[in-house]
């Protein structure tokens, strides 16, 4: 069952508007705009049960429903294409190889939330992707799907590409809003949530690329058929990004609920060089690592949360028996120390502190107490910052220490 890679996996598919239409593309926009009211679309998306694919897993239809009724302010849709979570590379493939699938999702969503202006915030490094999207927008405008009076319905929509300029934090939705407004990417205190007060102080919906790319299917087939795919509370298919010590790295689309073991051993071809698995991060580097005896878990939101990790962005990073988790946690700690925006003291100070302690341990200069100090810092960052970046840096370090403590102890005598 493929929704997102259906076209991309066709050998001669180019992603042009002709190809996209040949595959039945843009029929969902016609159906939505000509036959459905915005409220009916929101209802359909609620029925689908789809949860956000950007990391937090919030139910998409419910989020759309938070837009204040009868507001006299303009409403904005923002497509989050910042894709910066280490281990994640799924939005890029949609952007580069099936841009119209994303645009169709954006158009339907804008119509559903009564927005006339959508911004597609794409990380600055994706230059090719931004160019690709810009030409796709031109094609869609020429065909009458974007612009004034779409399909003769009187509905107007402008879609504008907005390039980021480097900074992982700008993927966090309120940092993204600040960045869009021309400021430093410093997260905002919530509430107010973006749906009430977002871009330019107006109601705003922020959705991930993959989330929006599912919307045409939901409109074409109905929310109920979407809800039949996957498992309870985690409906639909998901793009899984396999990287690290795996024989067949890449993007795989499966219904939510596939087991991590089959993802790694059946589809990913197993561990490189026939080595043994040591650990695997299931949802991008912000999510707690799983030990090799935890991989019979079902890859869905609830099952991963139940074992103390999370689906996150489904960036699956595989590590074999040759790795030292001290090296891995140092790499991860360096990332969060580098990317902390500096706004909240516990994060600004805590991330480099963790980095320095791990670095000291690695150099053989660690003290016995260091391991517990590390854990202590994670608890003093978690929950004490404006945005979830604090947890994103604290959780993985805590898991590396708790699950692979012997690796740390080996360096300390």
């Amino acid at each position: 069952m493929k929704i997102l890679l259906k076209n991309i996996e066709e050998p001669d598919y180019t992603g042009s508007i002709q190809d996209y239409r040949r595959k039945g593309g843009y029929t969902a926009v016609s159906k939505a705009i000509k036959e459905m009211t915005p409220e009916e679309i929101v209802e359909e998306v609620k029925k689908s049960g789809i949860r956000g694919r950007g990391g937090a897993g919030f139910p998409t239809g419910v989020k759309w429903g938070f837009i204040p009724k009868n507001t006299d302010k303009p409403i904005y849709l923002i497509c989050n294409a910042d894709e910066g979570e280490p281990g994640t590379f799924k939005d890029r493939i949609i952007i580069e190889r099936d841009p119209h699938l994303l645009l169709e999702g954006i158009i339907i969503t804008s119509y559903a939330i009564k927005s006339h202006q959508a911004y597609l915030y794409i990380r600055g490094e994706f230059v090719y992707g931004a160019n690709r999207l810009n030409s796709a927008i031109r094609e869609a405008a020429e065909a009458g799907y974007i612009g004034k009076d779409i399909l003769g319905s009187g509905y107007n929509l402008d879609v504008q590409i907005h390039r980021g300029a480097g900074g992982y934090i700008c993927g966090e939705e309120t940092a993204l809003l600040e960045s869009l407004e021309g400021k430093r990417g410093w997260p905002r205190i919530k509430p107010p949530f973006p749906a009430a007060e977002g871009a330019f102080r107006c109601p705003t919906i922020v959705n991930n690329v993959e989330t929006l790319a599912n919307i045409p299917f939901i409109i074409n087939n109905g929310g109920e058929s979407y809800a039949e795919i996957g498992v309870k509370n985690s409906t639909g298919t998901k793009l899984f990004c396999l990287s690290g010590h795996i024989n067949k790295p890449g993007i795989y689309e499966f219904p939510l609920g596939i087991s991590l073991r089959s993802l790694i051993y059946e589809h990913g071809g197993g561990i490189k060089n026939n080595n043994k698995l040591k650990g695997v991060i299931p949802g991008g580097s912000s999510m707690p690592v799983l030990a090799s005896d935890e991989i019979d878990v079902s890859m869905d939101f609830d099952s991963l949360a139940n074992i103390g990790s999370a689906l996150g962005s489904a960036g699956v990073i595989v590590m074999d028996e040759t790795v030292d988790m001290v090296d891995v946690s140092l790499n991860v700690a360096k990332f969060y120390a580098h990317e902390s925006c500096g706004q909240c003291t516990p994060c600004r100070e805590g991330m480099p502190w963790m980095r320095d302690i791990i670095s000291r341990i690695k150099d053989g200069k660690g003290k016995k107490e260091d391991i517990d100090t590390l854990l202590d810092i994670t608890y003093n960052v978690e929950g004490k910052t404006i945005c979830p970046f604090g947890e994103a840096g604290a959780w993985p370090i805590r898991a590396f220490v708790n699950k692979f403590r012997e690796d740390f102890e080996k360096h300390i005598n």
């Binding site: 979570e85 280490p86 281990g87 490094e125 090719y128 900074g167 396999l242 690290g244 890449g250 990073i317």
Partner: protein
């Protein structure tokens, strides 16, 4: 220093998509970097005048973003990812190899101003690790042979 006529037009077009002028800051700084190669203090002062904004506001924004370069770099900016998936797949060796080949350290530029080498965080291409970006282009599944070939093609 001044924007070309073409860039000024591009800027006006961009501005028409936003309800407030500050939203055009990132696009404008990108335009400046494309046209002048980097965004020095002097360029920020010009931009501030051009956009009728406080230079302090602009500086505050520009200094936050890693892609905006404060000074000139080599003609080719080699940005090697050293985040987890790339590191597991040998990014460290790739960086060492380039350092040795170009005889420069990370953050340095070759004397002929051709190459600058930097380390960057996850480029969103972890399935084809190790990865680097040179100026706008991605190079994936890197090996030493591939690097030889890529660098020799750049003139």
């Amino acid at each position: 220093m001044e924007f070309s006529q073409e860039t000024k037009q591009k800027f006006q077009e961009i501005l028409s998509h936003y309800p407030v002028k500050t939203a055009a800051v990132l696009p404008a700084v990108h335009l400046a970097q494309e046209e002048f190669g980097y965004v020095s203090e002097e360029i920020i002062e010009y931009l501030a005048k051009f956009m009728d904004m406080s230079p302090v506001f602009l500086k505050n924004t520009v200094s936050f973003y890693t892609m905006f370069k404060g000074k000139e770099t080599g003609k080719y900016l080699i940005q090697v990812c050293h985040t987890l998936s790339c590191s597991l797949m040998g990014a460290g060796n790739i960086i060492d190899y380039i350092k040795e080949k170009l005889n420069i350290d990370v953050w340095e530029t070759t004397p002929d101003k051709k190459f600058t080498l930097v380390k960057v965080e996850c480029l969103g291409s972890c399935g084809t690790a190790p990865v680097m970006q040179i100026n706008d282009d991605y190079y994936e599944n890197l090996t030493e042979e591939k690097i030889d070939e890529i660098l020799s093609r750049l003139s």
